[in-house]
Symmetry: C2
Subunit: 201 residues, 2 copies
């Protein structure tokens, strides 16, 4: 049912296709676009087409990249070229980078193993990871998939797959989150935090 002029309806429909945006929110966003100046609306539209044309995947780590060749992280001489952090999604790279603690390379799987959703090893960027490790330069692979069932299973699967290459495979530590309260920690997390306890210096 259309109660707005066609051009507005089309914009609402486009917004409504976005994940997590319902018809009401789409309306609100479309009204906001109409409230923008011509230049602002043009900049918004240009950002969409620009991102789509400019952004590709790094042929090495499969993270988002701009332009041809390896991404800025893979190409950086400041990065530790013997260390790979394996993550499920590009947004996990962003999360790791925010920590400012990690200085190695990445490998983005673009998903996790999920039999329920018919995602198997061939649907993930696993072959390219194997190829990188087979090249011999890598000394340690850090599994940084999410600490849920699927992330866990994927880390486990990869760790076994990498055994023959005699590379060190590690997993991010489990434990209580910094700044949280013990009373709100779930049993599994608390158990893992106990198991992984470390001597104080």
């Amino acid at each position: 049912m259309e109660f707005f002029p066609p051009a507005l309806e089309r914009l609402i429909e486009q917004f409504a296709r976005l994940p997590g945006i319902g018809r009401k929110s789409a309306q609100r966003l479309a009204f906001f676009v109409l409230s923008l100046s011509e230049e602002e609306a043009a900049a918004f539209a240009a950002a969409i087409t620009d991102a789509k044309t400019a952004i590709s995947f790094c042929p090495v780590c499969q993270n988002f990249s701009e332009g041809e060749g390896p991404c800025s992280i893979c190409a950086s001489p400041k990065r530790d070229q013997t260390l790979i952090c394996v993550v499920a999604d590009p947004k996990d790279v962003a999360a790791m980078e925010r920590s400012r603690e990690y200085n190695g390379l990445y490998h983005v799987l673009h998903g996790v193993l999920s039999p329920m959703n018919h995602v198997g090893p061939d649907d993930l960027h696993i072959q390219s990871l194997i190829a990188r490790i087979a090249s011999g330069q890598i000394q340690e692979v850090i599994m940084a998939t999410n600490p849920d069932t699927e992330g866990e299973a994927t880390a486990m699967y990869l760790s076994r797959l990498l055994k023959p290459f005699q590379v060190k495979v590690t997993r991010l530590a489990y434990g209580i989150p910094v700044g949280s309260h013990l009373e709100y920690a779930d049993d599994a997390t608390l158990m893992r935090a106990l198991e992984g306890r470390q001597e104080m210096e």
Copy 2:
């Protein structure tokens, strides 16, 4: 802080400017755009610029309109030209139209009186409403602003302003919403529902 390629960061920033969209949601939406085909992304961008250029305000009722001259509702010969429904926003026109019950014209104020937010009578489309009523064709004006303090005050203000024109001014009925439960109705609504009770036929 930028952890994504510039073109992607720009798209995330554009989404983050939308009302109700935080940085995390903006990231999710930008990733979704990257997952679209070139054509789909182009259609999205075109919808934004098209809406912005094609949509204007109807010079008569101030509702969204496409092209020059009066909007499709104002120009429709099927509409009762003696009846005006006054609403705060274009989305309220859409709500009224959904009811399929109303067959008159509209007038969109583009806001309500709100001293707290420094919105006075001159900030709303009130002069053009007066002009329409002064033309003599209108017999009834239905106040359909929201049933909250500001909508109420705006309806009251307009109703007094229209007194000299000897036009019938009505207000949408208050009462319990259809399909709701009495036990969940608030006191004010229940009081209004009692006051407005009608004899059953």
